[in-house]
């Protein structure tokens, strides 16, 4: 019969051997926890540094002049990025007009008509497209639009950004539509509602907040892109309302100013960067908040 008396010599003899191993393991455990905390701090450090610096260097330069004037010639102080801000909006509007309907349509295809081999191909290609470097997309848009039209334009920039938006929106739309229970669709079919009407007025309607979230995230992602605009919109120091001329964009302007040798332009680059980050981060945060209140009720 085993000896279970805690006072007997056999049991206490076993206890003597345990402490040294456990000490080393315990220390390792604490060290690893410490290292993990350290990594978190190291990762958060640049984040705070960037935001802090953006505000520090940029806030002083954001004023009415900055937001309403165009760049002044080199050497003269003052001027602003108004044309770049508006230009970005125009390019993004074109991109959304092209990209959002196609993206949502592809998403509807994937979820309602694509639960098969063809859908798998589109799904795979979508994910592949998401990984294509944005500068390569710029080259493609250059070939598609700029070379045909023989000039840079906001349209070319919009096309480039639309190509980037479509796969993202397609995938998120698909996921949101799949969240709608099949029972909801069946309820509509049972009432004698045709399939296309069910898809649009019932399924898509139920998933609306989720789909909008996906669209806004795709929007925020391309809003900060510079590379695909380098040889499509190209940038412009002046106001441009024509569709056949190069257009300024906020991200392009920041880039041009940052690599320039002029202090005055560096100062404005910081301001522009701050504006850009506020807009993008604001959009992402707004989406996050909306998700918490919206999707749960909608899906």
């Amino acid at each position: 019969m085993p000896d279970t008396n805690p006072n007997s010599a056999a049991v206490s003899a076993q206890q003597v051997n345990i402490p040294p191993i456990s000490w080393r393991r315990r220390v390792t455990d604490h060290v690893m926890t410490g290292i993990s905390v350290l990594t978190v701090l190291l990762v958060l450090l640049p984040l705070f540094a960037i935001f802090a610096y953006l505000v520090y260097r940029g806030i002083g330069s954001i004023n009415i002049a900055f937001l309403t004037q165009t760049p002044k010639p080199v050497g003269e102080p003052g001027g602003g990025m108004a044309n770049a801000i508006v230009g970005s909006m125009v390019i993004l509007a074109i991109a959304s007009l092209l990209g959002v309907p196609l993206g949502i349509g592809a998403g509807i295809f994937l979820s309602e008509y694509g639960r098969n081999r063809y859908g798998d191909i589109v799904r795979f290609v979508s994910d592949v497209l998401n990984g294509v470097p944005s500068i390569v997309i710029g080259i493609v848009a250059y070939g598609l639009v700029v070379m045909r039209q023989k000039h840079f334009s906001a349209l070319a920039g919009g096309v480039a950004l639309a190509i980037m938006m479509i796969p993202t929106i397609a995938r998120t739309t698909e996921q949101m539509l799949l969240l709608v229970p099949q029972a909801i669709r069946e309820a509509a079919y049972g009432l004698g509602v045709s399939r296309w009407r069910t898809t649009l007025s019932i399924t898509l309607r139920t998933a609306t907040s989720g789909v909008i979230t996906g669209v806004m995230l795709a929007f925020a992602r391309v809003a900060g892109e510079t590379a695909p605009l380098l040889f499509t919109a190209f940038g412009n120091q002046y106001w441009n309302w024509k569709t056949d001329q190069p257009t300024a964009a906020l991200s392009l302007q920041i880039f041009t100013y940052a690599i320039s040798p002029f202090d005055e332009w560096h100062r404005q680059a910081w301001a522009g960067a701050l504006v850009l980050v506020i807009l993008i981060v604001g959009a992402v945060a707004a989406v996050r908040i909306a998700v918490r209140h919206g999707t749960l009720a909608g899906a």
Binding site: R185, E186, Y189, G190, G298
Partner: protein, 252 residues
């Protein structure tokens, strides 16, 4: 006034698997017909064949003839058109979550292009009254969403929604299985009343419910219709031994 349902030599398949074997049934107009049987015996598949909901599953196939009145379900009309004459209530209440109570009931009409506001108001009220839900929701028709009601109320909402389209036939696939006894009682009462205007086919795994509500009962087992007769006969003096075993609780 109503229409009956005739089913002849119905076979149903999911891909290569056969789910229904040579089913023959006649459901009389303005009567309730219950379908009973153990889980997985094919009664849900059968009822979904009656309004072609079976087709919404990929690789599903049907063989045989189904007649609603004198309309051939599979050859004479499109599925969408058919489903306006045959309403369905599902096992789990499925009101449209983003729509108000009013919009839920009116959905079948609004989504099919019907816009006359006054007539819609009238139909919504009548449907909700027919579903015994009007008094409970008449003050919050537009304010509350369909999903904010209790389980029993949601199911009655779904019944109202189905009735608003004014079908001739009402198919009910275990409508009370997810509900508490009080709600169940209310709905059974409702079915009893609806019989006078509609032809009802109800799937139930609850034999007492079949006994309470239906004049005719069909017993399904493993995809085959074993016996179909007056409810009284099925429960008191069934012809087939398997029916007797099921009805006395020896299995299922």
């Amino acid at each position: 006034m109503g229409v009956g349902i005739t089913v002849e030599h119905l076979n149903a398949f999911y891909g290569k698997t056969q789910a229904l074997f040579d089913v023959n049934i006649t459901a009389l107009a303005n009567h309730a017909t219950a379908l009973i049987g153990p889980s997985g015996c094919g009664k849900s598949t059968f009822i979904r064949c009656l309004n072609r909901m079976h087709e919404t599953i990929p690789e599903a196939r049907v063989d045989g003839k189904v007649l609603i009145g004198d309309l051939s379900v599979y050859n004479g009309t499109s599925a969408t058109q058919l489903r306006r004459r045959v309403g369905m209530v599902f096992q789990k209440a499925n009101p449209f979550p983003t729509m108000s109570i009013y919009d839920n009931v009116a959905a079948g009409l609004k989504l099919n292009g019907f816009r006359n506001r006054k007539q819609l108001d009238e139909i919504v009220q009548k449907s909700l009254q027919s579903a015994a839900l009007w008094d409970e929701v008449k003050d919050s028709l537009h304010k509350k969403s369909g999903a904010s009601l209790s389980g029993g109320q949601q199911q009655r909402l779904c019944i109202a929604r189905a009735l608003a389209v004014q079908p001739e036939v009402l198919l009910m696939d275990e409508p009370c299985s997810a509900l508490d006894p009080i709600s169940t009682g209310k709905i059974e009462e409702l079915i009893f009343q609806l019989k006078e205007q509609y032809t009802i086919v109800i799937v139930t795994h609850n034999m007492q419910q079949a006994a309470r509500v239906a004049e005719f009962t069909g017993f399904f087992l493993l995809g085959k219709m074993i016996e179909f007769d007056k409810t009284e006969k099925i429960f008191t003096n069934p012809s087939d031994k398997r029916t007797e075993d099921y009805v006395t609780g020896r299995f299922g």
